[in-house]
Symmetry: C2
Amino acid sequence: MLIDIWHDRAVADLTLQRSPLPIAPTPTGPAEMCCAPVTQELLDAEQAAVLAARLKALADPARLRLVSLLANAAEHEACVCDLTAPLGLSQPTVSHHLKVLQQAGLVTREKRATWAYYSVVTEALDELAGLLSPRD
Amino acid sequence: MLIDIWHDRAVADLTLQRSPLPIAPTPTGPAEMCCAPVTQELLDAEQAAVLAARLKALADPARLRLVSLLANAAEHEACVCDLTAPLGLSQPTVSHHLKVLQQAGLVTREKRATWAYYSVVTEALDELAGLLSPRD
DNA sequence: AGCAAGCATCGACGTCTGTCAATAGAGATG
DNA sequence: CATCTCTATTGACAGACGTCGATGCTTGCT
């Protein structure tokens, strides 16, 4: 299932010089393994805090819908201006949520021209899922 | 890995008549499938709210440690009085967190004698994980 | 009946969080 | 340069949240 939230900007995009696609686009949250699955080993205070912080980044309706929008968007990415309308939230609020998601390592940001393109870090979601329920 | 937070109450427990192990011990949160995995279909507002509520129940250090304690406890269950010390939190606070977890369908409560035994609903964790990252 | 233990609820408190309007900054266009 | 678009930051505010002490309720024991 793919939702196109690209509109006519795809056309305008062609008229702009694109950035040379940096290999490492500033990964704020490296999303490193913080602990064993919750049900397998006892979490100490610090591990629990780290894991809770990541889950908390996802545990918000707006942010869940953002992740869903990004994952289902054409090219699996979208810029802020395409996300405000589907969410019914103001642009600053959307920017705020995206920043939270980025700092948790759940999305990446790539600036092209005046637009900031966000996309989901599927590996981060996978790892989070694996911590809740062991993949065996 | 098993952590024994049972102490000497296991002995005292034998002297008390046990409840006849009811089949359906008041499942507050039935943990029914709320939506497709986040990355596969677009979440609407309501689905996002439901999923966010469940994730929010887990997205707390104390509650994560509670789940971890329960999962790693002998018999895979524990009562409130065994959980306050490992967490370093007051009994009312622990009771509060357990209630949140129970309402989210992540733990079940079974009252035996004066003790309330909580245990993890692994299926709920599995489902939650499956919504973040599709299995197979 | 009286008492003690385990647990849930209540009330209160400080903190965190989601939201917006206003503003500032970066970048493209004319 | 002036202007426009897109995005990020700031400041402010209401509501939610985590925590605790005090209290009440249930259950078993004497």
